[in-house]
């Protein structure tokens, strides 16, 4: 299709006044060949599979079709298509260039230059928080620009499921690696994800397993492992099970000096090199766990216990419930949860299979446009709507400050249960008015930056959303009246992002 033809087709669905923003872009041509309903459908699905539609992903979706687009989101072989500037920034990060033991050792060495213990502590903390800031920046850049969106959304979900708090001890240094280990497993089996999360130094520090030794039991990790990570609070375990699982986990700790030692082989037996089992601190007696005997065999018994928990029917139900809440509804339909739990159990906890069960369900289709956006989804989707290929890297820190304002900063949940997924826990007057302020700030910044750079249009997808073919299908008359009565582009963007419809997905 020639450019002229594109323009002609576009003029049929988009008011002339909105045309210029898309005359030169791929989205213009794709929009031209799609009808309003299919674009609306794409927008809704991109709100669930991705952090909202970006110009690029909407184009891709419409070009590829729904099935192929989703398949691409599941495929681990799909290369990420980050804007070059974003890719270069991430590549240049320290957290990308060295392994966790190397980063840890380097931070320690840097701190060792300080004259006294107090200052060494400070210097180490400073080094760790630099790495944490990189992790936050990387997360924000990927959320907005990565084309591996389903992976990114799932990474958020699982980081929240296996929530750790940035303020605990020196945990900050582990968090970039923690995110990476979880991200690498979101399309695998639940048991592998469970191992990666629970046995990671970040979790061992956060839930005090470093202090869990034979004769000096600390139940913290054991309890949360059953209550939050696997079985669920009513999952059928007893206080004895907590105690015994704590026994299984005794001696499992962070090897802080891993790098100093001469390692003949890389294997501590755990995925993370800095995790180890100290035999002398392990309770090697036989234990009963959920009615089954577990022989005291050090790390083998840890893996056995984790597998037992990962494959438990209560776990299948608990995980399915949370995924259905996250992807479908705050009131998860029991039938869908049951179907998902069945899929979970019959596929050995294969997470893509569970997700496909959700996405192909009638409950999922029927829920589109009816779910409140999480604070994090509100922010990411706003930036994605306005995303350009010549990405503004400075946006990452702005995004993170907005996440704090709306109460969902990365690794910022103090309690191990993670941020609440249901709107009743955050969608109050405080949250709403903060969102309107954030909408205003984003609009104002975008307009200002655009005036400075003038490289790409500021509209992003806003014109598509507001076009006569689509706007009427998505927005209420009240919202359209507000948006169309705007006195400036800035106001138009404010009302668009502040509208009830933009705050749903």
């Amino acid at each position: 299709m020639s450019r002229r033809e594109v323009l002609r087709c576009l003029s049929a669905i988009v008011p002339a006044g909105y045309l210029w923003g898309y005359a030169n872009t791929a989205i213009g041509s794709v929009m031209a060949s799609a009808n309003g309903d299919s674009i609306k459908n794409a927008i809704y699905l991109l709100n669930r599979w991705c952090w909202g539609p970006s110009p690029q992903d909407l184009t891709r979706f419409l070009q590829q079709g729904q099935a192929a687009f989703l398949q691409g989101q599941f495929s681990s072989s799909t290369q990420d298509d980050l804007p070059p500037r974003v890719a270069a920034r991430i590549r240049a990060m320290k957290i990308e260039s060295a392994s966790l033991p190397e980063l840890y050792a380097a931070s320690r060495e840097a701190a060792a230059q300080s004259p006294n213990a107090e200052q060494r502590k400070k210097a180490f903390r400073a080094a760790a928080s630099t790495l944490l800031r990189e992790a936050e920046e990387r997360a924000a850049l990927r959320a907005v620009h990565s084309t591996r969106q389903l992976e990114d959304r799932l990474t958020w979900f699982w980081l929240n499921h296996f929530s750790v708090y940035r303020g605990k001890a020196n945990i900050a240094i582990f968090l970039a690696d923690y995110e990476k280990s979880i991200r690498a497993r979101v399309f695998g089996k639940f048991k592998n994800l469970l191992q990666a999360a629970v046995l990671h130094p970040a979790m061992l520090v956060y839930l005090d397993n470093n202090q869990n030794k034979v004769g000096k039991i600390n139940e913290n990790l054991a309890r949360e492992l059953m209550e939050l990570h696997t079985l669920g609070v009513d999952g059928g375990y007893s206080q004895d099970d907590v105690r015994n699982l704590a026994g299984v986990l005794t001696g499992l700790e962070v090897d802080f000096f891993y790098k100093k030692k001469n390692h003949t082989q890389s294997s501590s037996g755990f995925e993370s090199e800095m995790t180890r089992m100290v035999k002398s601190q392990h309770d090697s007696s036989e234990k009963m766990l959920l009615g089954k005997p577990v022989r005291g065999r050090g790390q083998d018994e840890v893996f056995m216990a984790l597998d037992m928990l990962a494959g438990h029917p209560s776990t299948a139900k608990h995980i399915s419930t949370k995924l259905v809440i996250f992807f479908v509804s705050d009131r998860p339909p029991a039938s869908l949860v049951e179907t998902c739990a069945h899929t979970f159990l019959s596929t050995d906890g294969d997470l893509p299979s569970v997700l496909r069960t959700i996405f192909s369900s009638q409950e999922f289709s029927e829920s589109l446009g009816r779910k409140a956006k999480l604070p994090v989804a509100f922010i990411y989707s706003a930036f994605r709507m306005l995303a350009t290929r010549d990405a503004n890297l400075a946006e990452a820190s702005v995004i993170n400050s907005y996440l704090s304002m709306l109460g969902q900063p990365l690794f910022g949940c103090m309690t191990p249960n993670g941020y609440a997924l249901t709107a009743d826990q955050w969608l109050g007057p405080g949250q709403l008015t903060q969102r309107f302020d954030v909408a205003r700030a984003i609009a104002a910044t975008k307009i200002r930056d655009n005036k400075k750079q003038r490289t790409e249009s500021v509209e992003g997808l806003s014109n598509v959303l507001l076009s006569s073919a689509i706007g009427e299908k998505i927005f209420s008359q009240a919202s359209l009246a507000a948006i169309r009565g705007s006195k400036s582009k800035e106001e138009e963007l404010i009302y668009l992002m502040a509208s009830p419809e933009f705050n749903r997905e």
Partner: protein, 398 residues
């Protein structure tokens, strides 16, 4: 005011438990929970002025006993106790009028001395020896017990995020009074409000904007980790009048948190850091009787902290975490002008672990007593509200 009078002004014509089952939801009794996050130093608030051991233990931060009008120190208010003169014009006046009472030797019988665990335990108010259920907060249950129609309990949290204490209570409004001033114009605000008119969020948006407009622009925004994003007392002072108005006009069950109490270093004595924080807190609280007017008679304000601090000062002119603390009960109708609850002599052998005030008055008993006497709940309602709590040998707060 007698308890019966308060009840009469409130929602119950009679105080029998049978009546409580069929009674209307309270419409004008007000309960505000002020949470001092960080563990405030209660020994320098309610000072054991007759204890030599106190002055031995706090050579640099101890607060001297003074006459009522005589500079800064501890003003005697009861047998063996003096009140920090930072509260001279505020809480001390209320105490003399019978509108303030204190419960020393108070706390949660859990000795991790972790801010976060103990703060959670306080907001959840569940038995300390059982796993915490994070979906069931004290006020969440109070809302449930008060009424199945949640709007009639009219709860609100004056915090950035809905706090743990309201967990399980449904869609509770939270109003962040300490936010950055909005740059939205009046007309933009009204246009946004119109977009939400008639939607299920319409009410929340209206309330949110109202609170936002009423919030002073210069509120303190400094934060501390142990304070869990709670505002500092100076910030509280800035927003207290707004909170008082909202409590007067819209809400009957409120929660607000104030941080800045984790005084490990240089807390000062008769003057200094902590003295100033107490003063600001008292000045903030004084907005309530002023603003509430007649409703002050039906209002109870609880001021609590997750724990107290070490009885002895540490090497940095501060104090570390210690279990026993002092709770405050304020309000026009409270049984005030008294020190309530069990007490023991303040001397070394009476310390817990030679470190801190003993807990003689448990938190569960305290909040149970307040709720029971304020709302006259049945025993089954009380069991729902505070499983396992025993407040039979309790004190009168109304």
């Amino acid at each position: 005011m007698k308890r019966r009078d308060l009840l009469g002004l409130g929602f119950l014509a009679a105080s029998s438990n049978v009546m409580a089952k069929v009674a209307q939801v309270p419409t004008d009794n007000k309960l505000l929970f002020v949470f001092l996050r960080g563990g405030y130093d209660s020994a320098n608030l309610l000072v054991p002025i007759d204890s030599e051991f106190y002055y031995e233990s706090r050579p640099t931060i101890g607060i001297k006993k003074i006459a009522e009008t005589d500079g800064d120190g501890a003003v005697p208010i009861a047998d063996g106790w003096g009140l920090n003169s930072a509260l001279r014009e505020t809480i001390l006046e209320w105490y003399k009028k019978g509108e303030a009472a204190f419960v020393p030797f108070a706390g949660i019988e859990e000795y991790s001395r972790s801010h976060f665990k103990t703060q959670d335990l306080l907001e959840l108010a569940q038995p300390v020896d059982r796993p915490m259920n994070y979906q069931s907060g004290l006020f969440g249950r109070l809302v449930d017990v008060l009424t199945s129609d949640r709007r009639r309990a009219r709860p609100a949290a004056f915090t950035r995020q809905p706090p743990v204490i309201f967990r399980g209570g449904g869609n509770i409004v939270n109003i962040d009074l300490n936010r950055r001033p909005s740059k939205l114009s009046e007309s933009q605000i009204s246009i946004i409000e119109k977009m939400y008119e008639g939607t299920e969020l319409g009410g929340s948006v209206g309330v949110g904007f109202e609170a936002m407009k009423a919030t002073p622009a210069d509120a303190e925004r400094e934060m501390k980790a142990a304070s869990r994003n709670a505002m500092l007392p100076s910030g509280f002072k800035g927003v207290a009048e707004t909170v008082a108005k909202l409590m007067r006009d819209q809400y009957s069950l409120g929660f607000i948190d104030v941080g800045g109490w984790d005084t490990h270093v240089r807390q000062g004595g008769s003057r200094g850091y902590l003295h100033d924080r107490f003063r600001e807190l008292g000045e903030g609280l004084s907005a309530f009787p002023k603003t509430l007017g007649d409703t002050w008679k039906k209002c109870i304000i609880l001021v609590v902290s997750e724990f107290g601090r070490t009885f002895r000062e540490n090497g940095n002119g501060g104090t570390d975490h210690g279990s026993g603390t002092t709770y405050w009960i304020l309000g026009g109708g409270v049984n005030g002008g008294k020190i309530l609850g069990q007490q023991s002599d303040v001397k070394r052998e009476n310390l817990h672990m030679d470190r801190e005030f003993k807990i003689l008055n448990s938190y569960a008993q305290f909040v149970g007593t307040v709720c029971n006497q304020m709302f006259d709940f049945s025993s089954s309602d009380m069991a729902k509200l505070l499983a396992g709590a025993n407040f039979e040998k309790s004190y009168r707060i109304i």
